[in-house]
């Protein structure tokens, strides 16, 4: 297939954008300064679907964060779906990997094409009803969370193992070289701590499934499923950038056969389907295909949706919302639902979070993990603090800095230190001084609030008939912010003897209980 210079330009743009987003991804990490120097969440600030989710959420629209997404929509209205063909990192990944794994071809199928429209309509209707699931299908969120939760951790693991082996076998020349390379590599290209996530494998499966759809058809995801593609397609129906010739030429079916998005068919060029890959400027045997800016025309093929399908999609979405919302409150049924500091109240948080995984990538303590069902059926991939695995670092504000939609508000250090995400409670059946009559106090040692929220009382106890004076820890409720370092560092095997529960978190109205003598 002959390629034109437009094709090369498009591939260069895809490669550069992919590398740029990967670079920003790698920068989504603490590297010695409290405020991240780069706009690492740029991908989602450019994301019109994130903007749609934000617009449909309760509370005001986040203009400050999401104006770039509106710019993308504006440019799309002029140029068409350039984002899909030239910028989208998932699109670039599919183009690149599809070539590698081999691609299938199947006949053009209008019913399948419509699926993405129905999906977007259903998701939007649900979002209007207060149930936001756009993020689950957002291609940029899929790309980034697959990277953050599965691929990058696996890469870190692999590279570390290679360096480990070289460290252990001690080969001449190679081992010293590897040893001198390791600190640089670790500091610039790797995560400082090996990232560990409970949902890695599941996340990877979804990603692999989307890649494997290339075996069915080139850009299967983009043509049939992608809700972001639909949104951009709707904006590009009257785009000024237009292709000539408008339809298939008599006697030549090349466009029909070769167009990756099936946009050029009998009846004309469908701008809402065209990914602007520009391949046709190269493969046209007559070199006849041109793209240029022209005044919009009313004629041309429409989006052949079926009214019945649209109504069904909207009804499904509209029904999903109340059904989800009548479920028992997660705050009541799951006391371990701990959200990052600065998270909006639970209902608004679920509406705003696009499940991109940025906060989990950046979390310095490895504390944030994707939820599966812990936050209810629609909380999939939202961030949870799992304090047994990692804790919220007292002076760190990174998760609020990277959140592209304001689901986690950006907090300065001082207010962050005062934000209560939960409270620690002791399990006296396991805690060493209570349960076994021996000293410990590791929790008290690590408690980071200036005036410690875990203190101790000395009491005489009789252990095996002998009186011993022991230090017993207790939590001062009004000082505890729920950072979870006590739960992380508790030296017991398995479950910690001190656990963080969501009681008293800042983001909801507190149930006033008597403070009691413990404060």
């Amino acid at each position: 297939m002959k390629s034109s210079r437009w094709t090369y330009a498009r591939r260069a743009s895809q490669t550069l954008c992919l590398l740029g987003f990967l670079w920003l991804f790698v920068q989504t990490e603490y590297r010695g300064v409290d405020d991240l120097p780069y706009p690492v969440g740029l991908l989602f600030r450019l994301d019109p679907l994130a903007a749609l989710a934000d617009a449909l959420a309760s509370g005001p629209f986040g203009w400050g964060l999401l104006w770039p997404a509106l710019l993308v929509l504006l440019l799309t209205a002029v140029f068409g779906r350039f984002f899909c063909g030239w910028i989208c990192p998932l699109g670039a990944t599919l183009d690149g990997l599809g070539r590698l794994i081999g691609r299938g071809r199947r006949a053009f199928s209008p019913p399948l094409r419509r699926v993405k429209y129905y999906l977007l309509f259903a998701l939007s209707a649900a979002a209007l009803g207060g149930v936001q699931l756009l993020g689950l299908f957002d291609p940029l969120a899929i790309f980034l969370r697959s990277l953050a939760l599965a691929i990058y951790p696996a890469y870190n693991f692999g590279v570390n193992r290679v360096f480990d082996v070289l460290y252990a076998v001690d080969l001449p020349v190679i081992t010293p070289a590897a040893q001198s390379l390791f600190p640089w590599w670790r500091d610039h290209l790797m995560a400082f701590h090996q990232p560990v996530f409970a949902l890695s494998f599941f996340t990877l499966l979804v990603f692999i499934a989307i890649i494997l759809l290339e075996k069915v058809e080139h850009r299967f995801w983009c043509k049939h499923l992608c809700p972001l593609g639909v949104l951009l397609g709707l904006c590009s129906r009257h785009a000024l950038l237009q292709r000539t010739p408008k339809t298939l030429c008599a006697g030549c079916q090349q466009c029909d056969a070769l167009c990756r998005s099936g946009a050029v068919r009998e009846g004309g060029h469908r701008r809402s389907e065209c990914l602007l890959c520009m391949d046709c400027t190269g493969f046209c045997p007559e070199e006849r295909v041109r793209f240029g800016l022209r005044a919009p025309q009313r004629s041309g093929p429409g989006i052949d949706l079926e009214r019945r399908g649209v109504v069904t999609a909207l009804a499904c979405g509209a029904l999903a919302a109340p059904v989800v919302r009548i479920a028992p409150s997660q705050e009541r049924t799951n006391p371990y639902l701990i959200r990052p500091p600065g998270a909006a109240a639970e209902a608004e948080f679920l509406e705003r979070c696009v499940r991109c995984g940025e906060c989990m990538k950046v979390c310095i303590g490895g504390a944030l993990h994707p939820a599966f069902l812990e936050a209810g059926p629609v909380g999939l991939w939202t961030p949870l603090l799992v304090a047994r695995v990692g804790y919220c670092e007292y002076n760190c504000t990174l998760c609020g800095q990277v959140c592209p939609t304001g689901a986690i508000k950006r907090l300065a250090v001082e207010p962050k230190r005062k934000t209560v995400i939960g409270r620690a409670v002791f399990d006296k059946n396991r805690c060493l001084p209570f349960a076994r009559g021996i000293e410990c106090l590791v929790c008290e040692e690590h408690c980071p609030t200036g005036e410690k929220a875990i203190v101790f009382e000395e009491k005489d106890v009789i252990v095996d008939g002998v009186t011993r004076r022991l230090k017993f820890p207790k939590v001062v409720d009004k000082l505890c912010i729920g950072c979870g370092i006590c739960e992380t560092k508790c030296p017991l095997e398995g479950a910690s003897a001190v656990r963080v529960i969501s009681e008293g978190e800042s983001r909801r109205e507190r149930t006033k209980l008597p403070a009691g003598p413990y404060g």
């Binding site: 303590g365 590791v442 008290e444 040692e445 980071p448 609030t449 230090k471």
Partner: protein, 302 residues
């Protein structure tokens, strides 16, 4: 100086690793300083570089501890994500001046590290120690992050709390080990001083040591004796230790304590908190186990 030869130790460690066992080190009691007692230098002053130079100078200067071409480990306390004025980590100026002295004495390499409690990157930065060392602009001095692959299981002969524990190989390997803690309040061990500072060069689940912390610390210090102990009491933390966080818990004392005898140094530091050495179980255990002398009347003040 100690009679303990780290090179021999490392050879033993590597040989033992080769046959898949852990090395057993025969620990002799520290060499007799008993005749006249171990020297202990205590100085006060606000100019920290001068204070460090004066205090080490009183012991005969750094050249008594570091010979040209030797490898040195300087072990500050960098355990917490706290800034200098909160007195949770060793003062960066103290650390930098000590490293300078080592370099002046001809050290081949000075390595610094700590197994921190908070995120190591934040601790190294917030403590001010990373920035202070950068001003030295010396390739021979290096502040490194702990490499988790470099821990080795070592048998503790005569260990009271534990028969063996994981130690950080670079700390064991160094020709000279200089222990530079900050003096702080600590709930379970009462105070955290030089003996407790060795928590930063061991692996494993350190929280488990808390159940019998005095003997555990004596165990660890018996494997890795400090050639020189310099306790930073330029400011001390008197409550909410060991990580503090409130300026009102900090007392400025402008004091530095140095001795080749770790127990004597800790014993003197205890008095800064209006405690007697025998009030701190770690010091008592250290003295009883032959790691040094806690009776300050038997110490030679220099």
């Amino acid at each position: 100086m100690t009679s303990f030869d780290r090179r021999t130790f490392v050879k033993a460690a590597l040989a033992a690793a080769a046959v898949g066992t852990v090395p057993i080190v025969d620990l002799l009691p520290r060499p007799a300083q008993a005749a006249e007692g171990p020297p202990l230098a205590v100085r006060r002053g606000q100019d920290i570089p001068k204070l460090v130079r004066d205090t080490v100078g009183a012991l005969g200067g750094m050249s008594r501890f570091v010979k040209p071409g030797q490898s040195v480990v300087v072990k500050p306390n960098i355990g917490w994500d706290r800034t200098v004025e909160l007195a949770a980590n060793t003062h960066p100026e103290v650390v930098r001046t000590l490293v300078e002295l080592c370099l002046e004495a001809g050290a081949k390499k000075v390595r610094l590290f700590d197994r921190t409690c908070n995120d190591p990157r934040r601790c190294y930065t917030q403590s001010g120690i990373a920035a202070a060392l950068e001003t030295l602009k010396s390739a021979r001095a290096e502040l490194e992050h702990i490499d988790p692959r470099a821990f080795r299981e070592v048998t503790i002969k005569g260990g009271k709390a534990f028969p063996s524990w994981e130690f950080y190989q670079p700390a064991l390997e160094a020709d000279v080990f200089i222990n530079v803690p900050i003096a702080k309040h600590h709930s379970i061990s009462r105070l955290t001083l030089a003996m407790k500072n060795l928590m930063g060069v061991i692996g494993g689940s350190r929280g488990k040591l808390h159940t019998d912390i005095a003997e555990a610390l004596a165990d660890i210090n018996s494997v890795l004796p400090s050639d020189l102990t310099v306790i930073d009491a330029t400011r001390i933390l008197v409550a909410n230790g060991p990580q503090g966080g409130r300026p009102e818990d900090v007392r400025r004392l402008d004091t530095l304590i140095a001795s080749p005898d770790i127990v004597a140094a800790d014993a003197y530091a205890a008095t800064l908190f209006d405690l007697k050495p025998e009030d701190v179980p770690t010091i008592v255990a250290g003295a009883r186990r032959g790691l040094g002398i806690m009776d300050l009347k038997r110490v030679r003040m220099v």
